[in-house]
Amino acid sequence: MKTSVILFMALLSTSARANPPETITLQDVTKRVSESNFAVYQNAIRVYQAKESIKAARGNLLPHLNLWDIAGAAADIYTGGGTGGAGVVGLISDIVPFLIPANWFRVQEVKLLYQADQLGYQALWANELMSAKALYMHVVLDQSLRENILHNIEEVSNIHKIVQMRELLGGAPQGSAREIEIRLLALQEDKRSMEVLLQEELSQLSFAMGMPAQTTLELTQIDLPNMATLEPLNYDDFEFRAVDSAPEINQYDYFIEASDYVRRETMYSFLGASSMSRGAGGGVFDNIPVTPGLGFGTAPSMRIVSAQKDILKLQKLGAEEVIKRQLKLLVNNYNLDLENYRNLKKRTELAKAALKQLFERLSMGENFDMLTLVEASRNHLSAAISFYSVQYRFLLNEDRLARLIFHGDYGKLPNAKEQIEEGRKP
């Protein structure tokens, strides 16, 4: 018996050591998403690629050795110039690539596309961080709601026992206990659903923080804001900042600037086309047909580049409008929650007082419809849930606003290069 107890204790301690819950705070989420989120880290590598592309493009301006081209040119000369000396001319792109203007334009394009990539990285990081923080807040809210449901289950169970007793003694109409039991069962279903939802949210949160699947998280509570002291927001105050700091909009400036170089590249294609890659972010201009030599296709190609520039300008305008609309909606919701806060607080207090009064009447032996008590308990639960929800929704809106204007945590963009050097290697 003694041995089995020791064995059981050892097993228990082993399992506890194998998977201890990890306590995290909202600040830890910022740090972990910045360092370990899969999408963020992947994008940091992309930025690193774009940066290296600049070096590659610069390096490609210098002469390079292509043995097969040299052999081809030598064979041409030896055989009497079967290709009319084209092989020798073709060597120019290997020996003096800096004489081809398109190569210089490509270097400029790669530099600009790197800047655009960095902004893309900033936008992605901010979105991932916002989603992870929202998940954290949802988990904490759902844990509070679960606590409330548990408390309500306890309350309704007590009422159920009293009603059962009264039904037996004839003090309550037949079927009252059954009605209450139905509600009790519904509450237990809610509790179970909430537990599943919590598990799912915690799993998503640990994934967002780049943690292994077996991680068990324990979240620290968040200090709820004192909404009574806060002032409503004015959309006009935030419009400039939201548009000015949006990487989604600003990256279009680099694309538009790069399109000018693509146009020049097309214009001077008669001096040779560039075979250099535009780097990780060059996809925007991949469909532009640039053929070496001056031909009838040059003018349409230039018009295609101009049209691409127009598309980019329109996309920028579209992104700007999306940001403005998001901000407007956000400010409206923020102000709505501020206005509703006092009402909800009062509603919760009144519901609590009504329930307390009914329990006092019950304890004094007063005979009244027990369903009234259940209804009061449900009202209290509903008011408490609404009150918690509005406070967490307010927190979420505050965080979304911070994301839109790059305030607080969102102002501390992790350095992509440091991410690569210090971060985990895949």
Binding site: L230, E231, L233, N234, D236, D237, F238, E239, F240, R241, D244, S245, L401, I405, F406, H407
Partner: protein
């Protein structure tokens, strides 16, 4: 005799583009200083026009962005940097610096006007003013830098965020 004349004319002919480019850079340097002065004036006209809306924000951002662009031009083109320093050395720093730079009091007023409900609402460049001025200082040659640091009106260390 004839050969020496040819050599002289040829030298002059070859030196001409260099001289012309030099003059163009002097003109560009003067324009850069004038532009910064104009941006500062436009910004100062709007600083107390609160709450800031698009017009005010554009004027404020314009000034700070201009400093950034100036620094970029000076660091990218060493010839322009050289001419700029020549032009800059001819300025009376006591009179010019207040026309080009913000003093601590003005900067703090700006930051206060930019902040509402805990949120900073102006361009992010505003926060980087100290860094921008430091970058500009680095673009100056030694004598200009020493004069710049010694002149109270150009004092960079006065401003702290």
């Amino acid at each position: 005799m004839k050969l020496s004349k040819i050599v002289i004319y040829l030298s002059l002919f070859l030196a001409l583009p260099g001289f012309a480019f030099g003059q163009a850079r002097v003109r560009e340097s003067k324009q850069l200083i004038k532009l910064l002065e104009a941006k500062k004036e436009a910004f100062m006209n709007q600083i107390d026009n609160t709450p800031y809306r698009g017009e005010q924000h554009s004027a404020i951002k314009g000034y700070f962005e201009n400093i950034d662009e100036l620094n970029g031009s000076l660091s990218d083109d060493w010839r322009l940097n050289k001419r700029f320093n020549e032009v800059f050395s001819e300025l009376d720093f006591v009179a010019s610096c207040p026309k080009l730079w913000l003093n601590a009091e003005t900067y703090q007023r700006l930051v206060k006007n930019c902040t509402k409900n805990r949120y900073f609402l102006c361009s992010e460049k505003v926060k980087e003013y100290e860094k921008l001025k430091e970058s500009f200082r680095k673009q100056l040659d030694e004598s200009n830098r020493k004069r710049f640091e010694a002149t109270q009106e150009c004092n960079l260390r006065e401003v702290s965020q």
